[in-house]
């Protein structure tokens, strides 16, 4: 038992030091509604017949968060010469364990959808391979929609992030899209069987801005010019960050650029760092 009254002077000093230090830290205000589902906005799982219907209004639903560009850029303005990266950057060795099937399936789906939405990378999408991610053609057509926009809840996206391998947030440039998609998988994780769209629940902290703004800058040039990727001259058109190695929003994310060239970057508030191994 630890009776406070019996603390030695040093222990009392330590307790005071902790209390004083902690009390001096400005405490963020947490909005409970950021963690609770929006009541009545959608109910249950729905295959993308309803998702596809969102396409008509998706472009009008873009919203910007503080400090980010407020004007979305049409994918038509993306550089048409973008090519898949030819070198891999590794700040640290990638995880040695194999990705679970569900994550592999999700990554294949999201990266293919983002590439299909970008005119520059659309020709590289293997729709037959995409079709094989679904149990049947009907599910494929319902979820995929037109050029993969069903996957991103009807909106056009060029970036995505998923921390749990199930729910995906989407971005256009550095603007987060208003809807998030939660995917359902077959029991073995190799097939997509459903998607549910909902208002994005995640609230972005200033730390998150580094991840999203920086990767957004890969596809949307900031006023000061592009931020160079660590390996060569490639400018990414689409990105998907997933499977963070830490709880930090700015470090340890595995990132796939343009659907190929899986890379392992270390993200810091100063940007991406890494070393090329090829």
């Amino acid at each position: 038992v630890h009776p406070s009254a019996e603390q030695e002077p040093f222990e009392g000093e330590l307790a005071l030091a902790m209390t004083e230090y902690a009390d001096r830290q400005p405490v963020p205000v947490y909005d409970p509604s950021a963690f609770t589902p929006q009541r009545g906005r959608h109910d249950g799982w729905a295959l993308a017949a309803s998702v596809t219907a969102l396409a008509a209004i998706g472009a009008g639903l873009l919203w910007a968060f503080s400090g980010s560009p407020s004007t979305p850029v049409s994918p038509a303005t993306h550089p048409p010469t973008a090519k898949p990266p030819t070198a891999t950057a590794r700040a640290t060795p990638p995880p040695t364990k194999a990705d679970p099937p569900q994550l592999t399936t999700l990554r294949a789906l999201v990266t293919a959808a983002l590439r299909d939405q970008a005119p520059a990378t659309r020709p590289t999408v293997d729709l037959a391979a995409v079709r094989r991610l679904f149990p049947d053609s009907q599910t494929y057509q319902q979820v995929w929609g037109a050029h993969g926009d069903g996957v991103s809840c009807g909106a056009n996206a060029d970036g995505a992030v998923s921390a749990d391998g199930t729910t995906v947030l989407f971005f256009h440039g550095s603007d987060q899209l208003p809807q998030q998609a939660s995917f359902r998988f077959s029991a073995d994780g190799t097939k997509l069987v459903g998607v549910r769209c909902a208002p994005a629940a995640a609230r972005l902290s200033p730390h998150d801005l580094t991840l999203f703004s920086f990767l957004g800058a890969q596809v949307e040039a900031p006023p000061g010019g592009r931020v160079a990727m660590p390996c060569g001259q490639h400018t990414s058109t689409t990105w998907f960050a997933f499977d963070p190695g830490t709880e930090s929003a700015t470090q340890g994310w595995q990132i796939t650029l343009d659907g190929t060239g899986e890379s392992w970057f270390s993200l810091t508030p100063q940007g991406i760092s890494g070393t090329c191994d090829s």
Partner: protein
């Protein structure tokens, strides 16, 4: 969650998030990491609110989640050999010098191994009994006492060295 549960959760967030954040700052030594931890904790507590509200107390449930997330984060940092535990700078004026000395103590606290640090934070900041700490961390009370004693000894030694310098 139904409306009543949402209301309970909102009250919990308003009442306890500051305490969770301060504990997280002490566990991580970083405001940004603490913010990430608290957001992750609240998200999980919300997801399992029905379980949390009938547990011993939602606060204890949240504290357990927070400590587990902090340990997960630490393991991730160790695995990647990127240990960043620099204290955020504070702008508070310190006319008497005592804050400087106590800040030094907190800096040394953050140089301790994660297990010792967690035990000391829970013991001297959260004022938890050793049995409660043991239950929370899944270790024995004897291990708690051992970790605390070793942590205090290290801190004393570092403070002594600093005073000699």
């Amino acid at each position: 969650l139904d409306r009543e549960e949402e209301s309970e959760f909102a009250a919990f967030v308003h009442a306890r998030s500051a305490v969770l954040y301060r504990t997280a700052v002490l566990l991580t030594g970083s405001r940004d990491a603490a913010d990430d931890l608290v957001q992750g904790t609240l998200e999980r507590v919300c997801r399992h609110w029905r379980r949390a509200r009938v547990a011993d107390s939602p606060e204890a449930y949240a504290r357990r989640v927070l400590v587990n997330l902090a340990n997960d984060r630490w393991r991730g940092l160790r695995r990647r050999r990127e240990v960043v535990l620099e204290l955020d700078p504070t702008e508070t004026a310190d006319p008497f010098g005592t804050l400087h000395e106590r800040d030094a103590l907190v800096r040394e606290l953050h140089r301790l191994p994660q297990g010792m640090r967690t035990v000391l934070v829970l013991r001297y900041f959260e004022d938890l009994a050793d049995e409660s700490i043991a239950d929370l961390l899944g270790i024995t009370p004897a291990t708690v006492r051992s970790q605390a004693a070793r942590g205090l000894a290290k801190l004393r030694e570092e403070v002594r060295r600093a005073s000699v310098r």
